[in-house]
């Protein structure tokens, strides 16, 4: 076969193949420095937590350093203070589920995985709020995400 014809056919094939266009959320990948008060004035109520790690790799990346709880009337809210120890910027998604006194999971209209980007070494506070006065317990799940 003529080499020119073959090259032309190959180029035509490439041109007809759809170009790989992507639609994606933008992300920040720059490392981050943080400054905060040495002795904070706030006195949060800290919650004891039990970590269930199913991924040792992820456990070394996103560390929950503490959890604060607060009640606004009958409604509970929590704050999970996390730190990115992975040595690089990562995208994670997290989910907070709520349970009643009987341990039954409550219907939460806005329950979904939330996406967040953690820069290298960044400490970030993730918040969740129960919308049901019957919520007494919670569960936090975190997973590395494509964003």
């Amino acid at each position: 076969m003529n080499r020119i014809t073959l090259t032309a056919a190959l180029l035509a094939s490439l041109a007809l193949t759809p170009a790989c266009a992507t639609g994606s959320k933008t992300s920040a990948t720059t490392p981050m420095n943080t400054v905060e008060k040495e002795n904070p004035t706030g006195m949060p109520r800290e919650e004891w937590i039990n970590k269930i790690n199913t991924s040792e790799i992820l456990a070394g990346k996103v560390n929950v350093t503490s959890v604060y709880v607060d009640w606004n009337g009958d409604l509970q809210r929590i704050q999970l203070n996390v730190q990115n120890d992975s040595g690089r910027s990562i995208h994670v998604k997290y989910l907070i589920e709520w349970f009643d006194e009987a341990g039954i999971k409550l219907y939460t209209p806005t329950e979904s995985w939330n996406n967040v980007t953690l820069s290298k070494g960044q400490r970030l506070s993730l918040q969740g709020r129960s919308t049901s006065p019957y919520a007494v317990d919670w569960r936090f799940s975190v997973q590395e995400s494509a964003l």
């Binding site: 076969m1 014809t5 073959l6 032309a8 056919a9 190959l10 035509a12 094939s13 490439l14 007809l16 193949t17 759809p18 170009a19 790989c20 266009a21 992507t22 639609g23 994606s24 959320k25 933008t26 606004n72 009337g73 009958d74 409604l75 809210r77 219907y107 939460t108 209209p109 806005t110 329950e111 979904s112 995985w113 939330n114 996406n115 918040q127 969740g128 709020r129 919308t131 049901s132 006065p133 995400s145 494509a146």
Partner: protein, 201 residues
């Protein structure tokens, strides 16, 4: 068959295998579009509900006992998407606030999911077909103390090879007794960047 014929037919062969599968709209398997996707609408609802409850304006004794009546005012779609599903955001926020037992939404008027049955039931009072004793007395329908106004905002940016859509929701609650906004917030922005590749490899 000549080799060049096979090469020319390659795109057709590659594009032939299409499938349909059910996916979790909250998972990474879901399609990422240049608009706002389902999981992002839910993310907005969660953020705005949390911000509304965190601000504690609903606990102001001036507004009276819970639940406080609220009505959905105008929802303004200022995006490039003509059929923006505002119902998803409003529906989830309404359901969450109802669940909180702090708010109830008036459905006889407003701009979201109104129900004409309250008014129609009142109109049946002179219809001999119905038992008058079961028709609610006039003047009992609730009037909202608070009004929830929504704007969906779109910001567009473009460079030579990339373009970006940024969307966010702006909400405000007005005390209709005074006409003063007592709570205002924005969602976190959702930004989507489109980069066009040169060749499909």
């Amino acid at each position: 068959m000549k080799l060049q014929h096979i090469l020319l037919g390659l795109p057709l062969i590659l594009g032939a295998c299409s499938t349909v599968e059910r996916v979790d709209p909250n998972s990474d398997d879901a399609v990422t579009t240049m608009g706002v996707d389902y999981d992002e609408l839910t993310e907005w609802s969660e953020t705005l509900t949390r911000r509304m409850l965190d601000s504690r304006f609903l606990d102001d004794p001036e507004l009276g006992d819970h639940p406080i009546y609220m009505v959905v005012s105008k929802i303004e779609n200022k995006t490039d998407l003509s059929n923006f599903p505002t119902e998803v955001v409003l529906g989830q926020i309404r359901a969450s606030l109802l669940q909180s037992e702090k708010v109830r939404f008036v459905t006889t008027y407003g701009d979201d999911a109104t129900d004409r049955m309250t008014r129609e039931t009142q109109g049946m009072v002179d219809d001999p077909m119905f038992d008058k004793d079961q028709i609610p007395e006039a003047g009992q329908a609730a009037v909202a103390r608070l009004s929830l106004r929504t704007q969906i905002i779109w910001i567009y940016g473009q460079s030579k090879k990339e373009k970006q859509n940024t969307y966010l929701v702006r909400m405000l609650v007005t005390d209709v007794k005074s006409g003063v906004a007592i709570w205002e917030a924005e969602s976190d922005p959702i930004a989507k960047k489109y980069s066009k590749g040169g060749l499909g490899w």
